[in-house]
């Protein structure tokens, strides 16, 4: 039940993109087509889970024993940057098809604030390792859900008669606002 609460909370109630505003850059940047959104969501799921695992271990076994928790921002971003590089190199060697699918999204993920955001949120909520993993995966799914829904909407928007001044980013933002309003309907569920 506890894990169920974390999952529903992360995916719907406080959706990482639409309620917490993390990962807005890829949300607006690569949501033009459903297929690219699926690729990006896959890459985020992969990196976010790994990054949360590693940063949790670094925090509990390195930063806390040495009493240097104020270095959390620096160490987390370094861990994430190194991890993304490593994942890229390993994927290239081990699974070329997966690299083909996710490759172009990986460098973008280092500066995706959703990954660092989830790592930091996990610490502020004092989750244990299993809870942290569930939280990371649920957030990645929430990111994917928002991203894929939004890219579906944008594909339709391209066919609509939008007033000239509102074309492109402005109408996309207003659409995202309405989508966020829909997600507000989940408030109070958990």
């Amino acid at each position: 039940m506890e894990y169920f609460g974390i999952i529903i909370g992360a995916i719907f109630v406080s959706n990482i993109v639409l309620a917490q505003f993390l990962g807005i850059c890829p949300f607006l940047g690569v949501s033009g087509k459903v297929s690219t959104s699926v690729g990006m969501s896959g890459a985020v799921l992969f990196v976010m889970t790994l990054a949360t695992l590693v940063t949790w271990l670094v925090y509990v076994y390195v930063l806390v024993p040495f009493g240097i928790t104020f270095l959390q921002t620096i160490s987390f971003i370094l861990v994430i940057a190194a991890l993304v590089q490593m994942v890229e190199i390993i994927l290239k060697k081990v699974s070329p098809p997966l690299y083909q699918a996710l490759g172009i999204f990986l460098p973008l993920i280092t500066t995706n604030c959703a990954v660092l955001g989830v790592a930091l949120l996990t610490q502020s909520k004092n989750y244990d390792l299993l809870q942290a993993m569930v939280f990371a995966i649920a957030n990645a799914i929430g990111f994917g859900l928002a991203m894929i829904l939004f890219s579906g909407l944008r594909e339709h928007l391209n066919l609509m008669m939008v007033p000239k001044g509102m074309r492109g980013v402005p109408i996309a933002l207003v659409t995202a606002g309405i989508l966020a309003m829909a997600f507000m309907g989940f408030a109070g569920m958990v």
Binding site: Q20, C25, T73, T111, C113, L116, G165, V174, A180, M184
Partner: protein, 194 residues
């Protein structure tokens, strides 16, 4: 380009939020009131100016291949300074901005200026560029925060000017997206006519 143009380009012509669409996460998340927007903007400006100054000073010592990680470490150091200073002197603001203070590290604006400008230009230009872009970012956040606070709470900088029910949705999450969408459309219009 003279230094004055270098300074003023961040406000409208190359505004980080309205034109370049960089750093949108904190822009949307913390602007539920004008004062929050101002605080976030100034914190980012400090990091931007300081990291631009350091990056431009050390640019000749850093090998090209490890350029980006080095920039990230420089930026992260300044973010940690801001974090500790804000925690000590403005604890309420620190609590409201919460996770978005450490997230200045991954603000694409800061890394973008370090990589795109400071790593190529002189010390003085980089400093002025950081200051101009940072204050432009602050301007955008304060404007967005003011509009949302006026519509959603009937006040500006915590000074109440209207009584009765305000349109609460504007200080909730959907309002952030909608107000920013209309502001971008407006700024686009203004840029075309001037």
């Amino acid at each position: 380009m003279n230094q004055w143009q270098n300074f003023t380009k961040g406000f409208i012509k190359e505004n980080a939020v309205f034109v370049l669409l960089l750093g949108l996460c904190p822009t949307l998340a913390v602007t539920s009131s004008a004062i929050n927007g101002l605080g976030m903007g100034l914190a980012t400006t400090f990091v931007l100016v300081a990291s631009n100054m350091v990056v431009t000073s050390v640019k000749s010592f850093i090998p090209d291949k490890v350029r980006i990680p080095s920039f990230i470490v420089i930026i992260a150091s300044f973010v940690t300074i801001v974090e500790l200073v804000m925690q000590a002197y403005t604890p309420t603001l620190f609590d409201t901005l919460g996770i978005f203070i450490p997230l200045i590290v991954v603000n694409c604006l800061v890394l973008g200026r370090a990589e795109g400008f400071a790593s190529k230009q002189s010390f003085l230009s980089s400093m002025i560029d950081g200051l101009g872009m940072g204050l432009g970012f602050t301007f955008a956040l304060t404007l967005l925060g003011s509009v949302r606070e006026m519509l959603g709470n009937g006040s500006i900088f915590d000074v109440k000017f209207a009584t009765g029910d305000a349109i609460l949705i504007f200080i909730l999450q959907p309002g952030a997206f909608i107000v920013l969408g209309y502001l971008i459309a407006l700024i686009n219009k203004l840029r075309k006519t001037t």
